[in-house]
């Protein structure tokens, strides 16, 4: 099979091909390494690990030839640079981490290697996962493989997992790891025509993932198909004693949840997601989704999530508050970059002033302010109360339905630089996704069509806690009905 054909394969197809010995992991991996090298203009991969990949591929081939190996044996996968990888530089795309090389492996990536996956490289992201466009990375922005019809400017791939979404859309790797604190898996997936799954909080261990906002952060996959997403989640998820918030519950066989019958299933349509100024295209896409699920046998019910409009403001108190505390560890003492000062305090201030980018600095300062004496009750405690109201909204909605269907984003991908000077405009990208993190629910973004500019749009399904199987079964129905098979022209090669 030719190299370009090998990168055409989905994760499931590549897995089956390896098991049937149609090709070797070394051939599959080499094809993806070539795609990675040819795709450098995208700036999606910030550290290529081809030697490590080929070494792992050879070890996988030895296992596969003996009919052995795990669920991901021999499959090349990219890793967001937020996951600590033993002996492989991990920076969270921040200058402050310098050339930090972890002496340990994150639990999620360890699970992937234990399942036989091959490590292709580290992927670009917004600095400390703070951003919705991948423009805050110290390695520079990622170019979306998709361009609008006029092709005059490059577009953002979404964020913060922009390297993950762009690489998968460009067929560099069969899957990528990502993380989602306010939409950082689902929004970039929607911007690139890929599938992004944020699992229930606690489903995947957070141990070894650079922390942003610990009560919201959750790891998940970005893939090209719903089936691939199910396979990846099965390998990533699981209980971990090293993360006290990780849930001790068996990991189901997510792949077997596919092909589910939707008869009798109820899909809720939250009216508050029909926001002011929503484009006709997004409205139309949403209606298509409703029709597709109806045709597949589901019943559509109207539901209300009355506190939706307060989710973003609550998020922009809670996430920065947690971030300001989590990022206190970057002080130039134990790891990363240090700027010298005349005394300890000056060293801290200079190191952090130079090491953090503008968006991270803004969020740390907002977080510091809302937690400071005299403001804690008015801001932080208030936001925690509103968070409960948002979570209660979902509980009430789920008394009437099994899952919720919404658009994934308010628009398709925008141009690099377009929203950079306006933090609030940038924050609006997460208007449909952030509620899910506040309530700790699973959510998935599925490509559902192209807009008038020829750019991908996604639909989001929101599930009940640990309802990933129902979510995947329904996402597959959308995938089948949408028949999304568009691919960007490979202008970057």
């Amino acid at each position: 099979m030719s190299a370009s054909k090998l990168t055409d394969l989905s994760l499931a197809e590549a897995r089956d091909g390896l098991r049937q010995k149609d090709f070797t992991s070394e051939e599959l991996t080499q094809a993806h390494i070539s795609a990675m090298e040819a795709g450098r203009k995208l700036n999606a991969v910030i550290l290529e690990t081809p030697e490590k990949a080929l070494e792992m591929a050879k070890a996988s081939d030895a296992k596969l030839s003996n009919e052995e190996g795990g669920a991901l044996e021999g499959l090349p996968i990219g890793v967001k640079d937020l996951f600590c990888t033993k002996g492989v530089r991990t920076t969270a795309c921040s200058k402050i981490l310098g050339d930090f090389t972890p002496p340990y492996e994150s639990t999620v990536t360890q699970n992937l290697w234990d399942a036989g996956a091959v490590h292709l490289g580290k992927l670009n992201n917004d600095e400390f996962a703070m951003g919705s466009s991948n423009e805050t990375s110290c390695f520079g922005p990622v170019n979306n493989p998709w361009r609008n019809k006029a092709k005059e400017t490059n577009l953002v791939p979404g964020g913060s997992s922009g390297g993950s979404s762009a690489s998968i859309a460009a067929h560099i790797g069969v899957a990528a790891t990502a993380t989602d604190t306010g939409g950082s898996i689902r929004q970039p997936a929607a911007f690139t025509g890929t599938v992004g799954l944020k699992p229930t909080y606690g489903r995947c261990s957070r141990w070894g993932i650079v922390a942003f906002a610990s009560s919201l952060d959750q790891a998940g996959p970005i893939t090209r198909t719903v089936r691939d997403s199910a396979i990846m989640l099965g390998a990533m998820a699981g209980h971990d004693v090293k993360d006290t918030t990780s849930i001790n519950a068996p990991v189901p066989d997510y792949e077997s949840a596919l092909g589910a019958n939707l008869n009798g299933k109820k899909v809720g349509i939250p009216k508050e997601y029909r926001i002011d100024g929503m484009s006709d295209e997004i409205e139309e896409l949403w209606q298509h989704g409703i029709d597709w699920l109806k045709d597949a046998g589901a019943e559509i019910v109207d539901v209300s999530l009355p506190h939706t409009k307060y989710a973003l403001p609550a998020y922009y108190i809670i996430a920065p508050a947690e971030a300001s505390s989590n990022l206190a560890r970057y002080d130039g003492v134990r790891y990363g970059t240090r700027l010298e000062g005349d005394n300890l305090l000056e060293m801290y201030e200079k190191t952090r002033g130079a090491g953090f980018g503008a968006e991270v600095r803004r969020r740390i300062m907002i977080g510091t302010y809302v937690l400071s004496a005299g403001y804690y009750d008015a801001y932080y405690l208030k936001a925690l109360k509103v968070r409960r109201l948002i979570s209660d909204d979902f509980k009430q909605a789920f008394e009437k339905c099994d899952v919720l269907l919404t658009p994934a984003t308010p628009s398709s991908a925008f141009a690099i630089g377009e929203n950079l000077d306006d933090p609030l405009a940038m924050y609006m990208n997460d208007v449909f996704t952030v509620t899910v993190n506040l309530a700790g629910l699973p959510g998935i973004s599925v490509p559902a069509g192209l807009d008038a500019q020829g750019l991908p749009l996604g639909l989001q399904l929101i599930g009940q806690p640990f309802g990933e199987e129902a979510l995947l079964g329904m996402a597959e129905k959308i995938e089948q009905a949408a028949g999304f098979d568009a691919r960007p022209d490979a202008w970057w090669e």
Binding site: Y310, P313, Y316, G353, R361, R362, Y379, K385, V386, Y427
Partner: protein
């Protein structure tokens, strides 16, 4: 509520982030825009609502009080910008 230059200085000091004097005013404007946005939470009636600190209600897990990790000083200090033997080195703290 809006922050003035003095408050920006105070927050920067609390956050241990050096901010150049010429950026204080523009940073204050940015922070005020965000604070103005989050201000809308004051519209919400939260009387008798308990703050939500965890999304999955579980009991805090206990584990045996035992040493389960450690014994690799070289790994711990390998990434440090400055080390002296097995110690992290910092500017003089005690006069």
């Amino acid at each position: 509520m809006s922050v003035d230059d003095k408050t920006v200085h105070r927050i920067a000091r609390l956050a241990r982030i050096a901010v150049p004097e010429e950026e204080i005013a523009s940073l204050g404007t940015e922070l005020n825009a965000i604070l103005g946005f989050i201000e809308q939470l004051s519209e919400v009636n939260t009387d008798d609502i308990l703050p939500m600190t965890a999304v999955v209600e579980t009991e805090i897990k206990r584990r045996e009080d035992a040493v389960t990790d450690g014994g690799y000083v070289e790994d711990v200090t390998a990434n440090a910008p400055a080390c002296d033997d097995d110690y992290f080195a910092v500017p003089k703290v005690v006069e």
